[in-house]
């Protein structure tokens, strides 16, 4: 009897260990929510609007950012403490984790999905990893903090150097032998973006009024300044949080950019890069994000106005809605076709899902001090 019992237990145990994930599913409607203070990421299903599970042990995730492999299954999470973690969204496990720097703020993935590149503050520079194994392939020391790293077509990456005021373009066609071109850009670039077509790289400047623009199809023309002197010599308002730039700035033929030290969104025509409008908003903008169809631009704000969110209608060029969805709205992410937006309310410990047409609250998910929200649709976009 005893023996039969033992055999049964054993059979049960081995069966459990071998059971594949219960359900076979796609990844196009998955995403990650970063819980900045608990070293955890929550895997979410944007169709069901619920959490599927969580992955722990990712270290210091303040200012963490995420990129996705092209199959939308693996996420690469860059932590502030220099941790780079490869997470499997389907099994909700860590596949691999390395500590690659002392102080890091993000990364990018190459066009072919084979290279993951980290941008570091300390030691300043970029590091190139094999996306499969996270083996270090090469590095480009910069001697300054790297901001605004973006992937470009052809295994290239663009980024800016805060203290040096330069834009660098690194070609990783041969990932073990990077080839870098350097361009003077302006004072204290704080972040950068590449237009969705992968052509223009823009670096926002903190130390002067203006934005540095590089046409990466014709780099020999060098960097040109746009929006020069947008502050008109007026004294800047304090900036309690640095704005973030990404390809979401582009809506139709216009680019929507946060002003620095002014409570305005600056609008530029992407055909001639001239300023076409400036839209007064509630406070210092942080994220200025176009809904994927470009009809709306959503704006959140720096401390102490981070409880507000405003919506700009791109047809009229006016703020059409002012919302107070929760306490300390740190980040926003649209579902791939823009019907819903997910907002992280850090101090309410929840993520809120809103309908972008009627602003109705569709769901709420509990999360501890949530910050970044990242959906797998980024896998298919250049510059994300």
């Amino acid at each position: 009897m005893r023996r039969v019992w033992l055999a049964l237990c054993f059979a049960l145990l081995t069966a459990c260990a071998q059971t594949p994930p219960a359900e076979v599913r796609g990844t196009c409607d998955l995403g990650l929510i970063v819980e900045r203070a608990s070293g955890r990421v929550v895997v979410v299903d944007t169709t069901a609007k619920r959490a599927l599970g969580a992955v722990e042990g990712l270290g210091d995730l303040s200012h963490a950012s995420v990129v996705f492999g092209r199959d939308g299954r693996y996420a690469y999470v860059f932590g502030r403490d220099g941790g780079l973690t490869k997470v499997d969204l389907l099994t909700q496990r860590i596949v691999k984790r390395v500590i690659q720097a002392g102080n890091s703020i993000g990364g990018a993935i190459s066009q072919d999905g084979r290279l993951v590149v980290a941008q570091n503050y300390e030691p300043g520079g970029i590091k190139v990893f094999d996306a499969e194994t996270l083996e270090l392939l090469s590095e480009v020391p910069a001697g300054a903090k790297v901001v605004g790293l973006a992937d470009l077509p052809g295994q290239k990456f663009a980024y800016a150097l805060f203290e040096k005021g330069e834009i660098w373009l690194t070609d990783l066609t041969d990932p073990r032998h990077p080839h870098t071109q350097k361009f003077p850009a302006g004072q204290q670039p704080y972040d950068g973006l590449v237009t969705p077509d992968g052509r223009y790289y823009l670096a926002g400047l903190f130390g002067e009024d203006g934005v540095a623009l590089l046409d990466t199809w014709r780099p020999e023309l060098g960097v040109r300044k746009i929006l020069e002197n947008y502050g008109k010599g007026e004294e800047k308002l304090p900036v309690f949080k640095m704005p973030h730039l990404r390809g979401w700035a582009v809506a139709g033929e216009h680019v929507y950019l946060p002003a620095i030290g002014r409570h305005e969104v600056l609008v530029v025509d992407r055909r001639d890069w001239r300023e076409v409008a400036r839209i007064p908003v509630k406070s210092q903008p942080v994220f200025v994000m176009a809904r994927p169809d470009g009809r709306q631009v959503w704006v959140n704000f720096a401390h102490p106005d981070n409880g507000w969110v405003q919506v700009i209608d791109t047809l009229s060029g006016k703020v059409v809605e002012t919302l107070q969805p929760g306490k300390a709205i740190l980040h926003m992410e649209f579902t791939p076709r823009g019907g819903e937006v997910w907002l992280s309310a850090r101090d309410d410990h929840r993520v809120i899902v809103l309908d972008t047409q009627r602003y109705a609250r569709l769901a709420e998910l509990p999360a501890k001090s949530p910050s970044g929200i990242f959906f797998t649709s980024r896998a298919a976009r250049t510059g994300f």
Binding site: R36, E122, Y190, G207, P238, F240, M242, P304, A328, D347
Partner: protein
């Protein structure tokens, strides 16, 4: 560290806003959260640095609380360090400066 947090929690900082127009009355845990989360946006949640310099005890060793409070209230011209005087009172800035020099308390776990 634990003791530090507890002590800090006992000490409710509803001191008058001498210099700040908008300085709110904040309890010690609220101030701790502000520093970890909102100063942390630039200095890192662990205060080991980011775009802003590290604010750990080791990194600040040798500086006076008065000098740090002045930086907190007035910012540093030509850098990304903003003036907090519209949001924090002198007393609050001093309180933060002293705690930074002593090793800043962790946020109490909810």
């Amino acid at each position: 560290m634990r003791v530090c947090t507890k002590l800090a929690m006992l000490f409710i900082l509803s001191l008058p806003a001498w210099s700040g127009v908008g300085a709110a009355e904040l309890t010690a845990p609220e101030l701790i959260r502000l520093v970890r989360q909102d100063c942390g946006a630039c200095h890192g949640m662990t205060l080991k640095g980011g775009l802003g310099k590290p604010l750990t005890r080791e990194a600040l060793a040798g500086q006076s609380p008065e000098a740090l409070a002045v930086i907190i209230l007035h910012g540093k011209q030509g850098t990304a360090m903003p003036p907090w005087k519209s949001l924090l009172s002198e007393a609050q800035a001093h309180w933060i400066a002293e705690r930074l020099l002593a090793g800043f308390p962790e946020e109490p776990q909810p």
